[in-house]
Symmetry: C5
Subunit: 103 residues, 5 copies
Amino acid sequence: MFVARVTGSVVSTQKVGTMTGHKLLIVEPYRLDAANRDQLVTTGRTFVTVDTLGAGIDDMVLVVQGSSARLTPETKDLPIDAMIIGIVDTVSIDRQKVYSRQD
Amino acid sequence: MFVARVTGSVVSTQKVGTMTGHKLLIVEPYRLDAANRDQLVTTGRTFVTVDTLGAGIDDMVLVVQGSSARLTPETKDLPIDAMIIGIVDTVSIDRQKVYSRQD
Amino acid sequence: MFVARVTGSVVSTQKVGTMTGHKLLIVEPYRLDAANRDQLVTTGRTFVTVDTLGAGIDDMVLVVQGSSARLTPETKDLPIDAMIIGIVDTVSIDRQKVYSRQD
Amino acid sequence: MFVARVTGSVVSTQKVGTMTGHKLLIVEPYRLDAANRDQLVTTGRTFVTVDTLGAGIDDMVLVVQGSSARLTPETKDLPIDAMIIGIVDTVSIDRQKVYSRQD
Amino acid sequence: MFVARVTGSVVSTQKVGTMTGHKLLIVEPYRLDAANRDQLVTTGRTFVTVDTLGAGIDDMVLVVQGSSARLTPETKDLPIDAMIIGIVDTVSIDRQKVYSRQD
């Protein structure tokens, strides 16, 4: 899994039938700032994920990829390869907090 | 999943039997322009996908990869690892539209 | 899936039992020439694939990756992650042919 | 699989139901130092994994990705794509130890 | 699949129960030397694989990734994502041998 920030959304009206009603969010994976190791920075990459947890813009989330994205009751048998499995409260690296949702 | 532009097509007459009759489109994944974050730009990569939605050249589409490409009635049990699951109407980033099909 | 050129082959006599008798080809994925968008160029990467279609050196082929490589009668239950599912006749980008097998 | 160092952890209270109670660790994949081939160095990438072995910060671990992360009794049917399957004692390259847990 | 050289091994005593007794080898994927196309060179990447064929240090091997690593009798249901499915005798590119085990 990877930690990513929710930055946007996708609207698609013409789609595979089973996808109707599923919220599609754009996320950007974050990685540790290599120089100072004290904050998370964007990788500049972009993924589209399904969200069932009510995540919002700017939330940091935990994203699962591949067939495991189908391993929840809401996404069973959907043709998806990425979903949000958690909204992140804190990320700690080297015993220091590098992200806190409350900040 | 990722957002990609349909840029072309592939013709293959000599192929695995179950692939007969399936439309093969070339797509280029797009990512957010890192500098200004106000438009989508090509990653320069190229994938081949199966299309069952009638997508056309220049359409922006949503592509799923991996085993989930087999999770639709039309693609069940096909030896494919990528398919178009939606034609994209709009993409919004940071609460701004960075792509609209109508433009 | 991706478009690749067949450039070589691998011989392995000491192998997993079920792999006996399966042809192993080396392929190089091709991508669109980013500058002129009028031809396909090699990515410089190398994969090994199983071939059941009789592809030959220099053929441009369509390669599927992952578990879907096991979704044909000949490759069912094989420990493989890539196979050739079609020999490519033509590739068109931006409504122009960028590859034709006859050339 | 790949060798990675445990560098941190993720806390998420709002998550998919089946993920409750599973420890989430941040790991950084390591690779061989290309110049001298005598030590492992970080790749600078970051993954989130599930841990059931009691790994701690600074431990070097073995991480499996993809659907196989679900192939243990504790992770069966979880929506995860990475887990720790071993805590590494030693890594030897070119017949020399490049990592030892005791050092 | 990809061609890789066996360069080392991993020892892990504290691991997932089903992994007991399985040999873990470090492999470095090789690619064609882009300039002269007459030899294989390391990509500098490192993977850990399961070996059931008795491969040794410096052997060139064929590695399968993903769920297909579980498709042999010895690895069925193991939480692994890479295994050695063959020891390579020769690799030929552009009708020339670029690797031979006997050299």
